[in-house]
């Protein structure tokens, strides 16, 4: 089994095919979208492939070390930031193909007009902690 991060972007990924902004969907369309993703997660819990899922606020703050005894300088949110992560799901699946298959399925969540949004999801393998034994 290998773990993968399915990354949703507010911004930064290529534009989805069905690209109507969410605030212009009907409430029913929004509910259908949310329901689809909840069903998807529930199904993965049932197959034993679910690890974690979180949504993230778009309000990010950048922080860095800026010398001894001084408060870290913070600035943001960066409206011009190219990449903005909306949330993630972590799955633990048998193969890379399975990870791609599930990402494709998640990307088919319904959007405006009840049609799939075809959102681009980023699929990133985890680096494992323990090396496997290979001579």
């Amino acid at each position: 089994m290998a773990k993968y991060l399915l990354l949703k972007h507010y911004r930064g990924a290529p534009a989805p095919v069905n690209d109507t902004p969410m605030d212009q969907w009907t409430p029913e369309e929004l509910s259908a979208h949310v329901q689809y993703m909840q069903d998807f997660a529930a199904r993965l819990e049932d197959t034993g492939e679910f690890v974690d899922s979180q949504a993230l606020s778009p309000q990010g703050t950048f922080v860095r070390y800026d010398g001894e005894g001084r408060p870290p300088i913070t600035d943001g949110p960066f409206a011009e930031t190219k990449d903005l992560i909306a949330g993630w799901m972590v799955i633990d699946v048998e193969t890379h193909e399975r990870a791609l298959e599930l990402a494709g399925e998640l990307s088919a969540a319904p959007g405006a007009g009840g049609k799939p949004i075809h959102e681009w999801l980023e699929v990133r393998p985890f680096l494992v902690e323990q090396p496997t034994v290979i001579e």
Partner: protein
């Protein structure tokens, strides 16, 4: 409370229940219930015969469940409360469990989880922790696996190769925290090798023992990888090495070579060298030839190229490498190593960087990045 005794008895009791006619899933649940009861009762009232106690209690719990199920579904049916005599009294129940837990209808991950639970006697929480997934996720995997094998008849002969593959997977997972999966895999393989007398079971056991023996030297205190040539060989566990070599030699005398015996033979030749320079690379190449013949595995070919590089010089190793697909995992790492030995640090540094980018594990990536950094600093 002797936990290792309970772990030891778990597969035996499940095996007895299944032979008496219980389906696997219910039997497994009944044994877990019996184990819970043992934890409560034994400290104050230790049984004379723990195994008999567990079998009796687990069988009673199975009957309770079966009766409840049965009366709910068909009130007219009465289940016979006497144990149903199994067909093969001589058959080893625990051995049958090995085959059931590694049944080809299960995915590898499910087979591993079920094996650790039913044969290893580990709790779902322990297995989930070892695999870094939430407990409900692991519980689902195990209950699906149990459902999958529930209908499988227990009287068909199993495939030892499938069981060995599952145990090999468990071993390769290494360990996290309190559960040492490598140690658990060795314990189970040792049992299997005793029960089946199969030369490849012995081969796998030898392979595991030889690898396990070198584990203390394989990583530094900070978790960094230490390559074979730089390992402190005094840290190797000579007792395990001796046992591994003995097990391997006995298996080899039967003249039925398989891939695990061949891999163990390579591991034994490494373990046998008191210094890296003493390594018998000529013989190692010969064993890799056998391994390639047996498996035709690209990974074996890649490792063979390394061995050829040591035995006949880096040019020969690079020549062996040209026959392989550059997209193979670890191909750039092997190429980097051989190019450095061939006196081309520029190419080696570039390939180490590429290898680091493709590395599947953190310690491996850090190791390869250090190699690239070391060469770049000298350029």
């Amino acid at each position: 409370m002797n936990e290792s005794l309970l772990q030891e008895l778990t597969p035996i009791v499940i095996g007895v229940l299944v032979r008496r006619g219980a389906d696997f899933a219910t039997a497994e649940d009944a044994v877990q219930d019996a184990l819970l009861e043992a934890v409560h009762v034994w400290p104050d009232d230790p049984p004379q015969n723990p195994k008999g106690w567990l079998i009796t209690v687990a069988w009673r719990k199975f009957l309770d469940t079966a009766r409840a199920e049965t009366s709910r579904r068909h009130r007219e049916t009465r289940l016979e409360s006497e144990p149903i005599p199994g067909p093969g009294e001589a058959a080893d129940d625990t051995l049958q469990l090995y085959f059931l837990c590694a049944h080809p209808s299960l995915t590898p991950a499910s087979a591993v989880a079920l094996t650790l639970r039913a044969l290893g006697g580990l709790t779902t929480r322990q297995i989930a922790h070892a695999y870094l997934v939430p407990e409900p996720t692991m519980a689902q995997r195990i209950s699906r696996a149990k459902r999958t094998v529930s209908d499988i008849r227990f009287n068909q002969p199993g495939d030892v190769a499938t069981v060995l593959r599952v145990l090999y997977l468990v071993f390769n997972e290494g360990y996290t925290g309190d559960i040492d999966l490598a140690g658990e895999a060795i314990r189970l393989t040792r049992q299997l090798a005793t029960k089946t007398n199969h030369e490849e079971a012995a081969g796998l056991l030898a392979l595991m023992l030889l690898h396990h023996a070198r584990r203390p030297a394989r990583t530094g205190p900070d978790g960094r990888l230490i390559p074979l040539t730089e390992q402190d060989r005094s840290l190797w566990n000579t007792r395990l090495i001796t046992e591994g070599v003995d097990v391997l030699q006995t298996a080899l005398t039967r003249d039925r070579l398989g891939e695990f015996q061949a891999q163990a033979a390579i591991a034994a030749l490494h373990a046998d060298a008191r210094t890296a320079e003493e390594t018998d690379w000529i013989q190692i190449v010969e064993w890799y030839d056998e391994l390639v013949r047996l498996t035709d595995s690209p990974v074996a070919r890649l490792n063979r190229a390394v061995a050829v590089g040591e035995a006949n010089g880096p040019q020969a190793g690079l020549a062996a490498l040209t026959e392989l697909d550059p997209a193979l995992p670890r191909h750039p790492a092997v190429a980097a190593y051989l190019h450095e030995r061939d006196g081309d640090p520029v190419t080696a540094a570039r390939l180490y960087t590429e290898a680091a980018r493709q590395a599947p594990s953190l310690p491996e990536r850090d190791h390869l990045t250090r190699q690239a950094a070391r060469l770049n600093a000298q350029l």
